[in-house]
Amino acid sequence: MHRYVIKRILLLIPVIIGVSFMIYFIMDLAPGDIITQLVGEDASEEQIAALQHEYGYDRSVFYRYGKYMLGLLHGDLGTSYITKKPVWDMYITRLPKTFWLAIGASVVAIGLSIPLGIVSAVKSGSLIDNSCMVLALLGLSMPNFWLGLLLIIEFSLNLGWVPSGGFRGFSSVILPAITIGTGHMAVMTRTTRSSMIDVIRQDYLRTARAKGVSEHKVITKHAFRNAFIPILTIIGGQLCAGIGGAVITESVFSWPGVGRLIIDYVHQRDVPVVTGSIIMTTIITGVIHLAVDLLYAVVDPRIKGKYSRKGLRLAPRVKTKRGAA
């Protein structure tokens, strides 16, 4: 198990190199650079040349990338061209807000989709099933910015229950979390439903019923635990997407999260901020996926064996043979 975890963490290194390389080059290919952002239109040639030298723009992109990566090796995510602050500080002040939003959205999505998905699967083909699927489709097709605006109009402007934007404690998380959560809910409901439908036909549920387990427990305990793995995958993926920042929703709610940090500094061609933030997102994504993979083994003991070096233990310890054998 430890070997598996270490291996997975080491595998993050090539991923980080690849991601940062791509960001650096795409930013370089994009029209405009930080120099044009920093100087006015009437700047002299000398001023421009001095700035270009300062930021390394008089040399190739490989030089700048190499220099950045050398810093990263020492744990330095770089310094913003514009604010002159360390990228780490800028990122870490934004992260908790994005984190709370991602958690909030997941809570909304899980809270709605798992009951809906289970009911749909159990009553598959019924009116309830169809209604749930329509609801899920509605959640999927409703654009986030539109739903966000509707929610603001009703609950902030008309009713005044919650703030319309910004980060002011728990109440301000509610609307953006619902906005993102309903989108996630759609996918998760469908996954829960199809996964449960697969499991509901299994023989072991009949065994459970035959020993007197109540129908409610057959579904929520025996069936759901087996149906949970695909759902867990979706939860992990959506949590990662949330940590990466929900740019549109963050914009609608003026949410000071990571998504807006990245998009604002992309516009200003502040390469270190963008690269550093995305590297952080990559690391967190990798860790969440690793956690999800480890949780698989908790949910389904058959998977546990695959993480150990010895593989599945097919010959269990049998010391004595007793009884009618």
């Binding site: 065994t207 020993k211 387990v213 635990r225 003991p301």
Partner: protein
């Protein structure tokens, strides 16, 4: 005939259909049989004859939809289980009646330890706390020949025969009065089959429970059962004690079953299978369902539903051929 109080199970005119969108499968048609306390009934028949459906009806576990119990009564200990509420039913399942299923590979929940799966039945029916139930589960494992400390392991860590032992342990955990074993050895290899059968016989004797053994293996029936019922296309076409059915088979289908067994003494002899296939259960003939395959059939058999006739003792058979009093099967009165 047995006294009413000696009967653990009395099935009367049971009819079960699977109602699909555009057709109806008549899985069980007007089935009646009785089972005495502590006795073993062998339910024989081809795949699709309605054996499993009959068994599931006793636990009221027919998958609904599409399964519908159309009529009849199933009296367990004198009480009709078809009139029980869901709650009453779950008290009966696992406590009064237990069932062992055909495929041990898929009968156990892969995400719970075998100990927990046995303990669950005990917790439901005997109101023990988790720890006491788990200890009893370990005892049950030892009874079926598995070391108690393996209770903490998961089903994938057991072999097929071991899994079937676990399934038996679950079924017997609360000392049921009736055990239904639905082809308990079909999915196991021959050496393990014998072990599991011996184990079941031994435990049946120990706990004095009645058993319905569903199988298509006549050898297993001969070894284990007191009574036999032969099913064909949803009907019981012949029933009686083991001796009655095996020694003086009356129905042409039963005769066909015996004839299709390989004869070890005459190895050069070819097998004599019953020609043809069982009829489509959605389009059963008006009369005898076996008539199209029956070597003795007359044209009228297709249209006339045979009545159940009494042949002395507990022996019953449904066949039109006995309208002619001089009729007898070619194979008759074989002493095993």
């Amino acid at each position: 005939m047995e006294n009413k109080n000696d009967l653990i199970l009395e099935v009367d005119h049971l009819t079960v259909n699977y109602e699909l969108e555009d057709e109806t499968v008549e899985a069980v048609r007007d089935v009646s049989f009785k089972l005495g306390r502590g006795k073993t009934l062998g339910l024989v028949g081809e795949t699709g004859a309605g054996k499993t459906t009959t068994a599931l009806s006793i636990l009221n576990l027919i998958p609904d939809p599409p399964g519908v119990i159309k009529g009849g009564t199933i009296k367990l200990d004198g009480e009709n289980v078809l009139e029980k509420t869901i709650k009453e039913m779950s008290r009966i399942r696992g406590k009064e009646v237990s069932m062992i299923f055909q495929d041990p590979m898929t009968s156990l929940n892969p995400v719970f330890t075998v100990g927990d799966q046995i303990a669950e039945a005990i917790m439901i029916h005997e109101k023990l706390d988790k720890k006491a139930a788990f200890e009893k589960a370990q005892e049950m494992l030892q009874i079926v020949g598995i070391p108690g400390e393996r209770a903490a392991e998961y089903p994938h860590q057991f072999s097929g025969g071991m899994k079937q032992r676990v399934v038996i342990a679950i079924a017997l955990a609360c000392n049921p009065q009736l055990l239904i074993a639905d082809e308990p050895t079909t999915a196991l290899d021959v050496t393990i089959q014998a072990q599991v059968l011996d184990l079941m016989k031994e435990l049946k004797k120990k706990y004095g429970m009645a058993m319905i053994l569903i199988t298509h293996d006549l050898g297993i029936i001969a070894e284990t059962c007191d009574d036999v019922a032969v099913m064909y296309a949803g009907k019981i076409i012949e029933r009686g004690s083991l001796e009655e059915v095996f020694n003086t088979a009356r129905h042409p289908y039963t005769e066909g079953l015996f004839n299709s067994l390989p004869n070890i003494a005459e190895r050069k002899e070819r097998l004599k299978p019953i020609p043809g296939l069982m009829p489509d259960p959605t389009k059963l003939p008006k009369g005898c369902a076996f008539a199209p395959r029956c070597p003795y059939a007359k044209p009228s058999c297709i249209d006339v539903m045979p009545e159940e006739r009494h042949f002395g003792g507990t022996h019953y058979c449904s066949c039109n051929a006995y309208d002619d009093e001089s009729f007898h099967l070619e194979r008759e009165d074989i002493v095993l």
